[in-house]
Symmetry: C2
Subunit: 299 residues, 2 copies
């Protein structure tokens, strides 16, 4: 990485500013009847959001001497997928949410057709960014980024998890199935963030085991923390409606374990995640800080 | 290409059977709560459809000695995009169609949430297939397939055209804007089919000019033929409701030019498309036959 190591606060700020700048540049209005589509994409993509996924790509890339620009571009591709999934999850036929990141959701502001379409457009854009020569000069890296991003976001990843989430409204899942749901719905994309840093750094799959283990643990810790925020969080700080899972009668880690055990489980997972980084030196401090942040955040 | 040249009827049949077989294999039910998602994807993807896009990839690949399997896999990726776009276009907030390819649309059969989600899952699957080493051994080819497929389907391609189509309900577009709309909405993906054959065959961009010109002309001819079918076609043969564009007050090539001039224009474009293939010998006969078929089909 061609920059000095950053603290968590510095890295969060740097990554967030850069992701916003990249979205701003990529989503310049074309000045034709497609402008409304670009406005809807900008509404959802620019400003707000923790940019946790691009931050994880950056923190992983730090370990393997990857250029800052490559890390940010891979993070941008993943953030395109994340934002598209939020837009579609918020649709009336899905979770029917009015607010997201403290703003009206895309379909509230631009109408439902634009909600579907802005999500679709960001979905395609993710793969354009991943496979763009500007992201990495090595075509093998670009092809692998595209392939693994697709697997993490499709039916064997995020979309499959969203299907399980829809099914959860009708059947009450046990802890094992709820864990599997979350591993697909949020875990697969988070795991790919860590993998992306290794792919950009030409680390072969067998060299990614400890990062995969770290990713699995923080992914689950992240979801437990989300469930805790849904129960205990302040909607104004969280930026979206809270208490929705309980209303929908869905099993969550909190409903299955109770608040205390859920919190203890999240803390245990974070300790375990950090232990998986033992082979790395201080270049992995950012990943260690992120693991702690994930369960301590208030939004 | 490691098979003997096929007539149009043989090629259509071979490609359609193989695309169905690939979808069947790729969309095996996982045997968990995601089964409904896979069933919705299978409902939309398997059986029916002209498979024009994979056929075009095959016919282009024939020119450059590409393996049959690579051509079919690239065609499968494009067909994933095409099918996802049909599912989303049929949603109540878009065109609100009940029938597609002679069957209920996905949202009619499985509900609206599954319509959104099955489309999203096929969208991701397209890029998984494109970047899969099973599609082509050369990572440069896989990365370029993913990149160009994303550009053809995103806001600078199909999704952008769909936005213009939504805007067309409010403003009556002139011929130039209607042409631009169609070049994005259907033309970009059709053009990519021809390009894909060249990419698979390691033909550099400067060697693809005549194919691009052919693609532009048949893409427009295809849309004019579609508009003619919308006015004159039999819904039972076409497989979906007809007369919808006129009802919606949208400008079409037929409303702008009249039936006779529209038909003459389509014929002229087909002749022009075939003329662009002059440098190729009989290995391009399939492309020539497809061009003629496009304006003569009844569905």
């Amino acid at each position: 990485m061609n920059r000095a190591p950053l603290t968590l606060a510095e890295a969060m700020q740097t990554v967030a500013v850069e992701i916003d700048a990249q979205f701003d540049r990529t989503l310049t209005l074309p000045g034709d009847p497609r402008d409304v589509l670009y406005e809807a994409m900008r509404h959802a993509a620019i400003g707000g959001g923790k940019r946790l996924r691009p931050l994880l790509v950056y923190a992983s890339a730090v370990l393997f001497n990857v250029s800052f620009d490559s890390a940010i571009r891979a993070g941008l591709a993943i953030e395109c997928i994340h934002v598209y999934s939020l837009i579609h999850d918020d649709l009336p036929c899905m979770d029917d949410d009015d607010m997201r990141r403290g703003k009206p959701t895309v379909h509230k502001q631009f109408g439902e057709a634009l909600g579907v379409l802005a999500g679709d457009a960001l979905h395609a854009l993710a793969f354009e960014v991943a496979a763009d020569p500007a992201t990495h000069p090595d075509p093998f890296v670009r092809a692998e980024l595209g392939f693994e991003l697709a697997r993490a976001s499709g039916p064997s990843g995020m979309a499959g998890g969203q299907m399980m989430d829809l099914a959860a409204e009708e059947t009450r899942f046990d802890l094992a199935t709820t864990t599997r749901l979350q591993q697909l719905k949020t875990g697969a994309l988070i795991a790919f963030c860590l993998e992306a840093g290794a792919i950009l750094g030409h680390v072969p799959p067998e060299g990614r085991r400890s990062l995969r283990a770290y990713a699995r643990d923080i992914g689950l810790a992240f979801q437990i923390a989300d469930d805790l925020l849904d129960v205990e969080g302040d909607a104004a700080v969280v930026g979206k409606a809270t208490g929705k899972d309980a209303q929908a009668g869905k099993a969550t880690f909190v409903s299955l374990l109770g608040v205390e055990r859920a919190r203890a489980q999240a803390t245990m997972l974070v300790d375990q995640a950090i232990a998986h980084l033992a082979a790395f030196g201080q270049e992995a401090d950012l990943l260690r800080e992120i693991a702690r942040y994930i369960v301590e955040r208030d939004h």
